[in-house]
Amino acid sequence: MALQIAQRRRIQASRKRAVVRNTFINKLQELAEKDERIILLVGDLGFSVIEEFQTKFPERFINAGIAEANMVGLAAGLALSGKKVFLYSITPFVTMRCFEQVRNDICYQNLDVILVGVGPGYAYGPAGPTHHAIEDVAVMRALPNMKVLCPGDPVEAGLCAEFAAKEKGPLYIRMGKGKEPVLHKNIPRLKLGKGIYMSEGKDLGLIASGNILPRAAEAKELLEKEGMSVSLISMPFVKPLDEELVLKEARSAKAIFTLEEHSLIGGLGEAVSKVLAENKFSGTFKTFGIPDLFPKSFGSQDYLREQVGLSAADISQTILKLL
């Protein structure tokens, strides 16, 4: 068994890019073969992603229709009857539209329900602001019992499904939507509340969570070209946060930067800043994320990232100016 795991870890990721949500759903399908409690509940979304699951497990696939408040309460009733419910929709509809149901029915009652919100941050860029998700981590993180998991690449997304199937209690997974680069060369361990070192450096630490991870990796390369020695940390869990890892980095690095495609209010940056402030970190610190605004002009995810200084070039230049 240990040998198998070691072998699996050595497997090099075969594709350079993979569609994050498909990776997740494919993995979920494998898990559903073994675990009869698993139910996939969707809010009339998931065209071209969920069909295979639906065909394979017609009894365990439920389309609740465009009615998210009911969908979450329904998930609670199913979970109270012994089911393990994966609830899948576009991020705003599975977190904010039905927030009170998530709070009372799922979190307060501490049920085995996994909210899968697809399309974090500006992933639905040109679709417009109704489809952007820039406050979801903040509101989900504020809920007692809720854990917040933001995979940074397709490898982490696949691991999320496995993690969720084993973990008890409410979990929010902030899932990438489209094709994302595979960043992990080896398959890492995904453990509750643990971050992952992608590389270790001496000068500064970049702590990134979720779909901004590829930009953080690019920014790291740009900074290295300027002679910096950079740690890159993927922090899939915004809650519980890996405080130990943050403090370890704080002991060795002169500067720490957080990166997230989320409002600067209530996300990774604020979570990390609390740890640093309470532990008297005296180095340079800055949070990169989305300022407290709705965009005035719309376009692709990269276009919107550029508007708020979240391109790799902007990030690296801002850091160089600060140091």
């Binding site: 109270l80 009372n104 029915d105 307060y108």
Partner: protein
């Protein structure tokens, strides 16, 4: 004698709410016969000695603010001792919160209080029973004012679509809500027709007639493949003359004199 049981539930509820200086006595009184029929009329398959029995029927009081009479019902039915009603209702550290909390006291299946949540959870129980081919039934009591909530109708659509004939809604149709008559706030009429239009088999009963209530509840499912709606015509504050149909008793707690008169009327 079901009517004696109903009277006893009202007496206990009055004492609890008066001692705790709590609200919602009107809402608690309007559902007393509904609770009596469910818990003492051989409708709910439940075992107070084994409250988590996987084969039990599920009851959800979605209008959680009316829970004083539910607590009294559960105590009388043997889920916990009667003294708990006075020691733990609305008290520091007490398990009988003003809206039911989760897993604090035997007999309460889910936390309710924020209106419009209970039916969706009931739909989840009913759907799970269908998936697992279990014969258990789910009963949900809704307030008529609560039916203003859109989530109720999302759940109603789902239950109709998924043919949840193992699910029964009983609406406490007392026609009073937060700030006045339901007709003047957000009129739900035609009400029975609304449920029918959402794919439910709907019936109307006198919500204070125990015989009528037990008879109709014994008949569920009314029609194979359809969820069941029972519109129970009730009077808010039923049983105490000065409370009946008076909005103020959604909020007030009886003073000493009012308590004495209520005791007299309920004995």
């Amino acid at each position: 004698m079901l009517s004696k049981t109903a009277q006893k539930i009202r007496q206990l509820t009055l004492k609890m709410i008066t001692e705790a200086k709590a609200s919602h006595i009107g809402s608690s009184f309007s559902i007393v016969e509904i609770l009596t029929a469910l818990y003492f009329g051989d409708i709910l398959k439940i075992d107070p000695q084994n409250p988590d029995d996987p084969k039990r029927d599920i009851f959800i009081l979605s209008k959680g603010h009316g829970c004083a009479s539910l607590y009294a019902t559960l105590a009388l039915r043997g889920f916990f001792p009667e003294e708990v009603l006075y020691k733990e209702f609305y008290t520091d550290g007490g398990r009988l919160t003003g809206h039911p909390s989760f897993k604090l006291i035997p007999g309460i299946e889910v936390a309710t209080g924020a209106l419009g949540h209970g039916l969706s959870m009931g739909v989840g129980f009913a759907k799970a029973a269908k998936i697992d081919a279990k014969k258990t039934k789910t009963f949900v009591v809704l307030g008529d004012g609560e039916c203003n909530e859109g989530a109720v109708w999302e759940a109603a659509l789902f239950a109709g679509q998924h043919k949840l004939d193992n699910l029964t809604v009983i609406v406490d149709y007392n026609q009073l809500q937060g700030l006045g008559c339901s007709k003047d706030v957000l009129c739900m009429d035609p009400f029975k027709e609304k449920w029918a239009a959402f794919g439910w088999e709907a019936k109307e009963v006198d919500g204070h007639n125990l015989e009528e209530l037990t008879e109709v509840l014994k008949k569920v499912p009314f029609k194979e493949g359809k969820p069941n709606a029972i519109i129970a015509h009730t009077v808010k504050g039923k049983g105490v003359s000065y409370m009946e149909g008076e909005l103020a008793w959604h909020y007030k707690s009886p003073n000493e004199e009012e308590f004495k008169q209520a005791v007299k009327e309920l004995s």
